[in-house]
């Protein structure tokens, strides 16, 4: 029996088009397989292993011992408070320093902004360790900064700038700054110049126009950048270890200490798990306030 011509037309090439779509989907999946494999190998497996270790006591049996200790000993709470404090302060310093930088970059004609952007990114391409030790050299008692300050009469005797909180914050802010500037710059670049013109045309003074138009329009980029900085700080190790000189104890440095002195994998893992959960919680809470995907990847 012949098919009715209408139905025949609506099915024209239907099978072939469908199977073409299927093929493309398989190809996509195939292309991402290596990445999925790597992630599984280097992220999910080790984290799962640490998670397991944190619930095992010295004799290899299940226990909540490590988590109990964390609740019992005040020192653990202090470490977490210090971690959040350093992270928050670093984020704050980055905001104060980074906002004007991003604003400046976004206001420049693209020819110049490229050059200045390079200056912001340059530290990115230098080893973290090198940069941290460079700060150690600059900030120490007989370092460049102290010498300079004494010479121009800012202070008379060397000030302790390193192996303490000050040094840690200086170093961390320097290393984290690009992470704040980049998303913020992206958000500012998306603000059309006519936005500010319109505000001023409607009667807003420059300060007012900034407050009610520019700031709200760049806030998503600021929030995204701050979040990245804050979260990266939470797990930061090298800089607090080197510039903190043992006086700034954050979770990551504490984990190393536990491993070095007690060789206690369970306790170290438990700390790691709690830090991971805290980080996820921060991300979740922040995600409820801001739509980061649009801030980072543009409008969909």
């Amino acid at each position: 029996m012949p098919v009715s011509p209408d139905i025949e037309r609506s099915m024209l090439n239907g099978q072939e088009l469908k199977s073409q779509k299927k093929r493309e989907e398989w190809v996509l999946l195939g292309l991402s397989l290596p990445a999925i494999f790597v992630i599984a190998l280097v992220v999910i497996l080790p984290v799962g292993w640490l998670f397991y270790l944190s619930f095992v006591d010295g004799h290899g049996s299940f226990s909540l011992e490590h988590y109990q200790k964390m609740v019992e000993y005040k020192s653990y709470a202090r470490v977490f408070i210090a971690t959040f404090k350093v992270s928050a302060l670093t984020t704050l310093i980055c905001i104060v320093l980074g906002y004007p930088i991003a604003y400046f970059l976004a206001a420049l004609p693209s020819r110049w902004s490229g050059i200045f952007m390079l200056a912001v990114l340059l530290p990115f391409w230098t080893s973290l360790l090198v940069r941290t030790y460079a700060w150690l050299v600059l900030l120490q008692r007989k370092g460049l900064l102290n010498d300079l300050a004494i010479q121009i009469g800012l202070w008379d005797s060397p000030v302790k700038l390193v192996h303490n909180m000050t040094g840690t914050l200086i170093g961390m802010a320097h290393i984290m700054l690009p992470f704040l500037v980049l998303p913020l710059y992206g958000a500012m670049k998306k603000i059309e110049p006519d936005m500010m013109q319109a505000a001023s045309n409607l009667g807003a003074s420059p300060v007012r126009a900034f407050g009610s138009i520019y700031l709200p329009l760049s806030i998503s980029g600021l929030a995204a950048g701050s979040l990245i900085v804050f979260v990266l700080c939470l797990g930061f190790y090298v800089t607090p270890a080197v510039l903190g000189g043992g006086r700034v104890v954050m979770v990551a440095t504490q984990i190393t200490a536990i491993l070095e002195h007690q060789f206690n994998w369970g306790a170290a893992s438990a700390l790691g798990v709690v830090l991971l959960l805290a980080t996820v919680l921060v991300l979740y809470l922040a995600g409820r306030f801001f739509k980061f995907d649009t801030a980072l990847f543009g409008k969909r």
Binding site: S200, G203, P206
Partner: protein, 364 residues
């Protein structure tokens, strides 16, 4: 309606240079209070530059811009109190429709209740009542345009500036908005400077049109005068369709095309070379071949081509090897010209009242 608070704008010697380029070259322009004046010119002619100078967004190199008696050229934009509709609308994406429109009122310290009333009133004027709580990205292009307009006039500025506000809209909506803008202008009576490079839009909407070219004003006149009495070749060419016919000048000063006498005397004896501007729709097909007379000039030629364009079309008539006249015709059943065969010999009449003479380029 004449708005008592509307202000005239007086521009004198306004010059703006970008490097070597004279974006504005000593522009003089008087805009009357409550007038709707359109700046019309090709791309890059300086329309936006002039408008931005009035709004205060670019600093001219020299010149004076007065609103009424007050010199404005040094006043920062936020103190000029002019409403402006940006080509891109420039609506604030983080505010609702009402917040956008209410923004200038908030800046002027209006009480919340009064501001709300004014916003609702403005929304009604642009026929957007009930959409106040929408986010900007939930609006269509035409609706955005109206929000931008409402925001520009809600604070009752004495001057309203618009930079190609309709260019992003499709033809139907654009024509609808043209009429609406005109009505709103009549209702508010605010001095309005409107920028477009669409000549039809300019002719439709304006009290007067200022034709601008290379940063200089070519002609400032009513739409009818601009169309019927263009001053030079640029204006004649830019506004409407036209064919230019070079005329020869006899010893007694009479101007003729071939053997047909177009004018018995030159409009300005010091100008030697003149062109006849022929508008395609001012030509008509003659039933019988007659001679040029007191009433009309007659051209003869062969039909070369027809082009159908919907409500009208045009025929190309070759007068000789060099000159082709375009004749516009209706496409209805009564239009005889479209029944002529290609190659047919026809006589085309041009009424003497419709003769437009302009000096040929490169003199004066």
């Amino acid at each position: 309606m004449n708005n008592p608070t509307a202000l005239p704008i007086s521009i004198r010697g306004l010059t703006k240079k970008y490097g070597d380029l004279n974006a504005l070259n000593s522009v003089d322009l008087e805009i009357k209070s409550s007038e709707f004046l359109t700046l019309l010119g090709p791309s890059g002619s300086g329309k936006t530059t002039l408008l931005m100078a009035i709004a205060g967004f670019n600093r001219p190199d020299a010149g004076s811009i007065k609103f009424g008696d007050a010199e404005m050229v040094l006043t920062p934009p936020h103190k000029r109190d002019v409403g402006m509709v940006f080509q891109s609308y420039a609506l604030f994406p983080h505010m609702t429709v009402s917040e956008n429109i209410g923004f200038p009122l908030k800046l002027r310290g209006l009480a919340a209740k009064e501001a709300r009333g004014r916003v609702d009133e403005a929304l009604a004027t642009v026929q957007l009542s009930g959409l106040g709580d929408r986010a900007i990205d939930q609006l269509s292009g035409g609706q955005r345009q109206r929000v931008a307009l409402a925001r520009a006039f809600v604070f009752r500025p004495r001057i309203l500036l618009m930079d190609e506000p309709l260019s992003a809209l499709d033809k139907k909506l654009r024509e609808h908005m043209q009429i609406e803008l005109k009505q709103i202008h009549r209702q508010l009576g605010v001095t309005t400077v409107y920028v477009t490079h669409d000549q039809r839009e300019a002719l439709t909407m304006s009290d007067r049109i200022a034709v601008i070219n290379h940063g200089e004003l070519a002609q400032v006149d009513t739409p009818e005068a601009i169309y019927n009495r263009p001053k030079d070749q640029f204006v004649a060419d830019f506004i409407g369709e036209s064919t230019m016919l070079s005329l020869t000048r006899g010893g007694d000063g009479r101007l003729s095309f071939g053997s047909e006498i177009i004018s018995s005397s030159s409009p300005n004896p010091s100008v030697l070379k003149w062109s006849l501007v022929v508008r395609p729709e001012r030509l008509h097909l003659l039933e019988r071949d007659v001679n040029t007379s007191e009433k009309q000039v007659v051209f003869r030629g062969h039909v070369k081509e027809y082009v159908f364009q919907g409500e009208t079309g045009f025929a190309l008539i070759a007068l000789n090897d060099m000159t082709i006249l375009s004749v516009r015709f209706g496409t209805g059943a009564r239009s005889r010209i479209r029944l002529l065969e290609l190659g047919a010999l026809v006589s085309i009449g041009l009424m003497r009242e419709d003769i437009i003479l302009i000096p040929e380029e490169g003199q004066m």
